[in-house]
């Protein structure tokens, strides 16, 4: 259903941008930690199936824990039998072997929006400074058609020509009294 796209953001970035760009583009450990993703591992062999915590992918490509201790292995053996013989703690332990986060844990809000909004405003501000510099040093003088007197004469000429007299421009002008209605 996901067309095989069950890879993390880093892998997707690698696929589209190349390894070196993806290394820059993937959030670094510092940014990830400040957003509340402090427990992300930094290196992963992306040629093998990977685990992911995604709300839209309930069953990742592999279980979370692949190096099982002896206790884990015996629990996995017990899982092969009837499940109503498992205690509640064992069921939870099995879940935690398969998955890192539960759905409520995955859906917890992060502080990422603050970084995004901050970045947006920073770039908007920089753009504003560029635009201001442009208006001082780049723009040529305004055409004469922008002057107040020219605009007034233009309006008068439009009224003389009776532009849009039915429902538009000239219909709002009272020709007898010489003023706007």
């Amino acid at each position: 259903m996901m067309l095989g796209l069950r890879v993390g953001a880093a892998a997707a970035a690698t696929r589209f941008l190349g390894r070196r760009v993806a290394a820059i583009a993937t959030p670094s450990g510092a940014t990830m930690a400040s957003h509340g993703h402090a427990d992300v591992s930094q290196t992963a062999d992306m040629s093998k199936p990977m685990y992911c915590d995604r709300v839209d992918t309930p069953l990742p490509d592999r279980a979370y824990k692949d190096e099982l201790s002896a206790a884990d292995k015996s629990l996995k053996q017990k899982e092969k039998g009837p499940w109503n013989q498992l205690t509640k703690e064992e069921k939870i332990a099995l879940y935690r072997l398969m998955f890192r986060k539960t759905y409520p844990e995955m859906k917890q809000p992060t502080a990422e929006w603050k970084t995004v909004m901050g970045g947006v405003f920073i770039f908007l501000g920089m753009t504003g400074l560029v635009v201001w510099w442009q208006s001082v040093y780049v723009y040529p003088p305004q055409p004469r058609t922008f002057d107040r007197e020219w605009q007034a004469k233009q309006v008068q000429r439009m009224l003389d020509m009776k532009v849009s007299p039915v429902e538009g421009f000239s219909s709002k002008w009272d020709y007898e009294k010489g003023q706007w209605k």
């Binding site: 000429r157 003389d160 020509m161 009776k162 007299p165 039915v166 429902e167």
Partner: protein, 76 residues
């Protein structure tokens, strides 16, 4: 515990059966509303305007205002 089997087929058909009549209904409603709030008043406005329209008078007024190049105001 056994859950009821969810609907596996006919999902698009069900959605269309629900949404298409609404879509058509709303579109027709908007079209009718536009006709009676915009086009009919506009047609009446134009009819009223041209009932009292004297083309020669308007031409003379425009000529005096000096907007034409083929005829100058009568004073010149």
């Amino acid at each position: 515990m056994s859950l009821t089997k969810p609907a596996m087929r006919g999902l698009l058909g069900k959605r269309l059966r629900f949404h298409l009549p609404i879509a058509f209904g709303l579109s027709i409603l908007v079209a009718v509303a536009f006709k009676y709030t915009v086009t009919e008043p506009r047609k009446r406005a134009y009819a009223e305007f041209y009932k009292q329209y004297d083309a020669v008078k308007e031409f003379k007024a425009m000529r005096e205002a000096g907007v034409f190049e083929s005829v100058r105001p009568s004073g010149e």
